[in-house]
């Protein structure tokens, strides 16, 4: 039981961060506005959560210009994918326990 709890990742223990990771697991990349629309959050809110995930090195941020518009897109890193997979497994095990 204790081991499973340890696998519950604090970095993903928030609805928005969980959402960001879910999107990036099944999509190669997603840009800021797509994430915003999918999760239904404000700019500032999304920015702070992506920053938190980036600091953990779970997602990579790529900034570029499309024409004159700046475009920020996000990708899950290898570490991020592994960590999220572990997190999902831990959640599943915890549910099965009951």
């Amino acid at each position: 039981m204790k081991n499973i709890i340890q696998n519950i990742n604090k970095a993903f223990d928030h609805r928005i961060r969980l959402g960001i990771m879910s999107v990036l697991m099944v999509n190669e990349s997603a840009d800021f506005s797509t994430l915003k629309e999918l999760l239904g959050v404000t700019d500032g809110n999304l920015a702070s959560h992506t920053k938190a995930l980036e600091q953990e090195n779970y997602i990579a941020i790529e900034k570029q210009f499309i024409g004159k518009k700046p475009n920020t897109s996000y990708k899950a890193t290898k570490d991020g994918r592994m960590a999220f997979q572990d997190h999902i497994s831990a959640l599943e095990k915890l549910i099965q326990k009951r």
């Binding site: 609805r15 969980l18 959402g19 990771m21 879910s22 999107v23 697991m25 099944v26 999509n27 997603a30 797509t34 629309e37 999918l38 999760l39 999902i88 959640l91 599943e92 915890l94 549910i95 009951r98």
Partner: protein
């Protein structure tokens, strides 16, 4: 606490689906497209029956009428499907032009446009007999290719239509019948399945 974990898992699943699949495809649109196709096939059948000459050439008025009917059916089907999909997307509060619908459209169009150009080339080289099967096969491939980005039912529709296309190549005398079966009956069957599964709530 366990409720929270359960909620998390279902949130993850929802978000993965929502971000990778466009689910607002309208089943009703499929049914109506099938009905139009059957009407079109009937008009085509009548046109061929009433043709005075046994052979239909590219220059004949009959051929032009058939072409006009086909175009009309195409425009009507696409228009209806488009309108109904917009309506469904609004109801489910999904935006119509997002990354999933773009991906769906591009992956649908690649095999479809290939097939369309191929048909035009066949027409140019006067291989009329293969047009029916080729439209079926490429449309089926387009559905299979697009199905990764939308409801699973589209995949089975595509596979059924590909099989019909291959059969109709073998039994080339019944091209119109196979065409009506593929574009008409299949659309109605799969459209109804989708309608009862997802639309009616």
């Amino acid at each position: 606490m366990e409720d929270k974990y359960l909620q998390d898992i279902s949130d993850i699943k929802n978000m993965m689906n929502k971000s990778s699949q466009f689910i607002s495809l309208s089943g009703l649109g499929g049914i109506l497209a099938g009905v139009y196709a059957l009407i079109g096939a009937y008009i085509g059948y009548e046109l061929i029956q009433n043709n005075d000459n046994r052979i239909i050439t590219l220059e004949s008025t009959t051929f032009k009428w058939i072409l006009l009917t086909a175009l009309l059916i195409l425009v009507l089907s696409i228009g209806t499907a488009f309108l109904l999909t917009i309506r469904k997307a609004k109801k489910e509060q999904e935006t119509i032009w997002n990354s999933t619908s773009k991906r769906l459209l591009i992956n649908f169009l690649i095999p479809l446009v290939t097939g369309g150009v191929f048909c035009l080339l066949l027409l140019r080289h006067q291989v009329y007999g293969l047009i029916g099967p080729v439209t079926l096969i490429f449309y089926g491939l387009a559905c299979v290719n697009a199905s990764k980005y939308t409801l699973r039912d589209v995949r089975y529709l595509g596979i059924t239509i590909i099989i019909l296309g291959l059969l109709s190549t073998e039994f080339s005398g019944y091209a119109l019948e196979f065409w009506a079966l593929g574009f008409g009956v299949c659309h109605i069957i799969y459209g109804s399945m989708m309608y009862f599964k997802y639309d009616r709530n």
